[in-house]
């Protein structure tokens, strides 16, 4: 990915990291296709942490998350030969994981939703004491969303995928991804009104001097 303008340092750096990581994963998949177990283990370890984290948060059960991860990589092992490289490895792998997770979540969602409504902390006018506390609340709130909205939120905010990538992973149009996130955000705001507290939010694109990343001054609010 070639360098963008000086005002897009963040995107450039991310783009370069994404490009080199992608090339390495493509190489690993090619080795897995001929039965290389070391390559398989390396790819598994690369994905396990990020997948375990968000799957466990969503299901609250590591055994379910582990089953989804292993079901996904079972398919990766058997179908590595059919990966042509026309999509990014992450899109391919997470696309498989999405389908496996959707079935697993639907089975466990009924039980989870029953318990979680009682577990949400009482709403107060105070914001979360820490990012960790907010993450815990988010985890509980996310479990109340429909499966597709839940997964769209995780793919966007935690795993940092673009709208087009999420559409490829979930096998749906780009507008559907936007709609799912739109509804998810609305529901999360209702469940966590603390998110709407201006004091709890610090805009990160505004530097302390009040200028945006691009160097232009922002109007005072």
């Amino acid at each position: 990915m070639k360098a963008d303008s000086n005002s897009d340092h963040g995107v450039t750096e991310l783009g370069v990291r994404v490009a080199s990581g992608t090339a390495h994963e493509v190489e690993l998949i090619a080795r897995i296709a001929v039965g290389d177990r070391k390559a398989f283990e390396e790819l598994y370890n690369l994905y396990h942490r990020r997948m375990a984290r968000f799957l466990t948060r969503l299901t609250r059960r590591y055994d379910v998350a582990e089953e989804v991860i292993n079901d996904t990589f079972w398919v990766v092992w058997r179908k590595a030969r059919s990966f042509r490289g026309d999509s990014q490895p992450s899109t391919w792998i997470l696309g498989i994981a999405y389908r496996k997770a959707r079935n697993a979540f639907r089975a466990s969602a009924r039980l989870a939703e029953k318990n979680l409504e009682a577990e949400l902390p009482p709403l107060t006018s105070e914001g979360p004491a820490s990012t960790e506390e907010l993450r815990d609340w988010l985890g509980q709130a996310l479990a109340q969303l429909p499966v597709e909205q839940r997964l769209a939120v995780e793919l966007c905010y935690e795993l940092g995928h673009s709208c087009e990538e999420i559409a490829a992973i979930m096998g749906c149009p780009v507008n559907t991804v936007k709609t799912r996130l739109f509804h998810a955000r609305a529901k999360l705001q209702k469940l966590l009104p603390q998110l709407a507290t201006p004091a709890a939010a610090v805009p990160a694109t505004v530097a302390p001097s009040g200028t945006a990343v691009g160097g232009e001054a922002l109007p005072e609010r």
Binding site: E132, R135, C156, K178, R185
Partner: protein
């Protein structure tokens, strides 16, 4: 200056401004809009907060090693099953020829089978009618199964399996069958030697010990008055 995005479109794209995954042109247009829209500016702050909350490192991480080993056992078990199912071509052809030689055509085969089955059923029923009824002087109370069925992980050797059973206080009384399942009982109790309730307790204790051992892939659920004991999934084929 880039064209400014309409408000509705801007609102929908804010998550990707927060996670840094917009194209440069979209980003420029959206930032221009946010500068002039207090609603979107506040919403952007919330989106960035969510990104930070969901990407911050957690204190608890999950080691991939044990999960990966489980996956490899599953892959190796599947491969072994495929290998054992692939008989030599000549033996397969001979089996097909033999089966063809014994198979009468179509409806005649079905009718013959039904006739044989009906005659057999009639003969059994007629025999039973002619026999006096017997009653035992004692009744056997319902109890847990006398034999517990288990399956080991494919990589376990015979020697290690024997050692595992000795340590768990079990002995083999059945199998292995074609699917690799053994029937075991507690060493301490011979069938009929202990009261049914005690035997049932010993069997459940044995099942619990075997379930706790990672080298045992599957333990048969035991039927109790309250229902079936918790179990692992049956071995993958």
């Amino acid at each position: 200056m880039a064209d400014v995005l309409p408000h509705e479109e801007s609102w929908q794209l804010l998550p990707w401004l927060a996670n840094g995954r917009l194209s440069p042109s979209e980003r420029a247009r959206l930032e221009e809009h946010v500068r002039g829209c207090a609603l979107c500016a506040r919403e952007l702050a919330q989106q960035q907060l969510m990104c930070r909350a969901l990407t911050e490192p957690e204190r608890v991480t999950y080691a991939p090693g044990p999960s990966f080993r489980k996956l490899m056992e599953r892959i190796d078990g599947h491969r072994a099953a495929r290998v054992s199912a692939a008989r030599p071509a000549t033996a397969r052809a001979a089996a097909v020829r033999m089966a063809a030689a014994w198979r009468p055509p179509g409806l005649a085969w079905a009718a013959s089978f039904l006739l044989v089955f009906a005659c057999g059923a009639f003969a059994v029923t007629a025999y039973r009618w002619t026999q006096p009824l017997y009653a035992t002087h004692t009744t056997v109370s319902a109890s847990a199964a006398d034999v517990l069925h288990i399956a080991f992980v494919p990589s376990l050797s015979i020697g290690d399996a024997g050692k595992l059973l000795r340590e768990a206080g079990a002995r083999v009384v059945e199998g292995p069958d074609a699917t690799g399942i053994f029937g075991v009982t507690p060493v301490a109790s011979a069938p009929g030697a202990a009261p049914a309730q005690q035997a049932s307790r010993e069997m459940r204790a044995l099942a619990a010990r075997l379930r706790a051992d990672a080298r045992v892939r599957w333990v048969e659920p035991l039927a109790t008055a309250a229902g079936t004991d918790a179990q692992r999934q049956p071995p993958h084929r």
